[in-house]
Homo-oligomer: 366 residues x 2
């Protein structure tokens, strides 16, 4: 029914092995032969049978990208950056990967499910993005699954996630980073957050509210840690209050920011700055402050995180911590394809730079 390799071979007057070699381009083939084969491919409108190819080669063209929330621009940027690296040298030719995004909705179970499904498909690689759930049972289950996948030949790249916890079961293991083929690109959340808070402290702020992301996410914890460390270093007296000035947002969304800011204002009407889990949350914070009649940055400074495209366009333009999402995604894509050599120890930390814009200013004099 459908055209097969053999049909193409017959038409081109060669063996199917030769056709395969032309298509995969990993073996010397005389120019004349190649041309003839390609013409036959074209004339017959041949399209490789992916499953057959995957079965024989023990790996498919699929690359999975796991995201928490497909609607969040953070993931959109990373995912499209990964995809942009997948383009092969033409559609009929082999080597073209199918990058598919799998939306976990932040659910650990769905994450595991997708991983199994991708393993079943013998995916060439999977890129996991976004914050990891901290709950231990899940994270070790996840780590095991990932190592299992890696052992089966699937390349694993963690992008914007903390490195895997050490292998379970072997608790005796020294703190060796376990060369298990899982590559990690982790953002410097602690450092970025530290710099942002330090910036506020330097401006003179002492009462700084913080609306975090979901409490069970690694990212939330890391950003909070950076914040607290900066406080401890530059304003130990403010540290004492930090707990009270921290509100845990239930999600990385606008309304978490809005509600969080209102709650902060209730607890400490005299705060002079608010930091948000990320830019989206920061937007909500700004809205709430404005609704309370506060001006930004004259009355209250606001800081975000991520530097999503809208941060620079917001009014006032948002001071935030820039995460090079596109760059990191592209690198993750190349790593997934094996086009780039993994960093030493298989872990690289991606820098997080402070972007000072209009939403932060010295606190108003009392």
């Amino acid at each position: 029914m459908t055209v097969t390799l053999a049909d193409v071979a017959a038409r081109a007057g060669v063996s199917s092995a030769t056709v395969s070699r032309v298509l995969n381009g990993n073996y010397p083939v005389a120019d004349g032969t190649r041309t003839r084969v390609l013409r036959a491919v074209d004339e017959l409108q041949y399209v490789v049978n992916g499953p057959a190819s995957a079965l024989a080669a023990a790996t498919s063209d699929l690359v999975g990208i796991l995201v928490n929330d497909v609607a969040d621009p953070f993931f959109g940027i990373v995912a499209s950056a990964v995809q942009s690296e997948m383009g092969g040298e033409g559609v009929t030719g082999a080597g073209q990967k199918l990058a598919v995004v799998c939306n976990t909705g932040g659910s650990p179970e769905r994450e595991l499910t997708y991983l199994t499904l991708l393993r079943r498909q013998r995916a060439a690689a999977v890129v996991l993005t976004g914050s990891a759930v901290e709950e231990t049972a899940h994270s070790t289950a996840l780590a095991d699954r990932l190592r299992h996948l890696a052992a089966g030949g699937t390349r694993i790249v963690l992008c914007g996630r903390p490195p895997l916890p050490p292998r379970s079961g072997t608790t005796e293991q020294p703190p060796a980073p376990a060369e298990d083929g899982v590559v990690t690109l982790t953002f410097d959340n602690r450092g970025g957050s530290h710099r942002l808070t330090a910036h506020l402290l330097t401006l003179g702020h002492r009462r700084i509210g913080y609306v975090t992301g979901p409490a069970d996410r690694s990212t939330t914890r890391h950003r909070l840690e950076g914040h607290r460390r900066a406080l401890g270093e530059q304003a130990p007296e403010a540290l004492a209050e930090a707990e009270r000035l921290t509100v845990h947002g239930g999600a990385y969304d606008r309304s978490a920011g809005y509600d969080g800011a209102l709650e902060l204002l209730r607890r400490a009407p005299d705060l002079t700055a608010v930091l948000a889990a990320n830019d989206t949350v920061a937007l909500g914070v700004c809205a709430a402050l404005r609704d309370r009649g506060l001006r930004i940055p004259e009355d209250v400074s606001v800081g975000g995180f991520d530097d999503l495209p809208f941060a620079a366009d917001a009014s006032p333009a948002l001071t935030t911590v820039r995460l090079p999402l596109h760059e990191a995604g592209a690198r993750a894509g190349r790593l997934a394809l094996g086009l780039e050599t993994p960093p030493p120890g298989d872990v690289a930390t991606v820098r997080a730079d402070l972007m000072v814009r209009a939403s932060t200013a010295p606190p108003a004099p009392r």
Copy 2:
């Protein structure tokens, strides 16, 4: 290396045929045997080899979902609804589909590329969402490709798209809907738009601005048609002005709405209502109006389209046309899986209901 069917069979003391039958559940197997097999599967942590299975069965577990823009909530809702129908009866068991979303970025070429890639993977089905590009060369190429896929056994569902144009090449064909296995769920864009405009006219509005979506999209045209038809019916005198009061937005985004509204205000400072291509655009329209010091709905009424979640939460709550996205997506998913029988003629129109909320009111008396 990895566990195969034969390993499971050996462990359970049966043949691999039996294991396959247990896993696929499409053949009588004695209870005792089934239990033994399932235990073996469990003990060995067996995971089906998807490619092998796909090769033998001539169809894979993959279901593709093509979306214009993964970051647009419209597509997010549809895609997750489709996915929600995919859940099989367990991960190791067969029948669990892998629903993957492919982000075309609205580009016809990428759409075609993804279709080829999905064909290569012998996808079980593909769901295409969102507006179609109207450019003829592409749309017939697309139609051919889709019919090709359908002929190859892949189920095709168009969700929120117009039906395919008639088969190319056979121009002689009578207007028969061509039973080619491509199922379409199309939104009643014309009707919805008609109702919305009629609502404004009934309120007394006569100068109604319109910020459309990208000009080359079917959805844009259909919504505009409904709008014009309502004008023609209830206010022929307003129709004459319609052209001047229409601004073509370059995208379905906020800034298109913002810019569009400013342009409209320039052309007709006395307009009393503005309709937007969709809710996102409407948000931009509202922002622009407010920035010009106009109150909604006292000075200007605003209408959206789609009824995305934020429409009801906006202030003022947005009058809009509700598209049952989740419902349509779920149905598309079932259709893709063959769980639901296609509508007669393979085309169903999904209703679009008017949702009157706070953003529309009678025009201020002169």
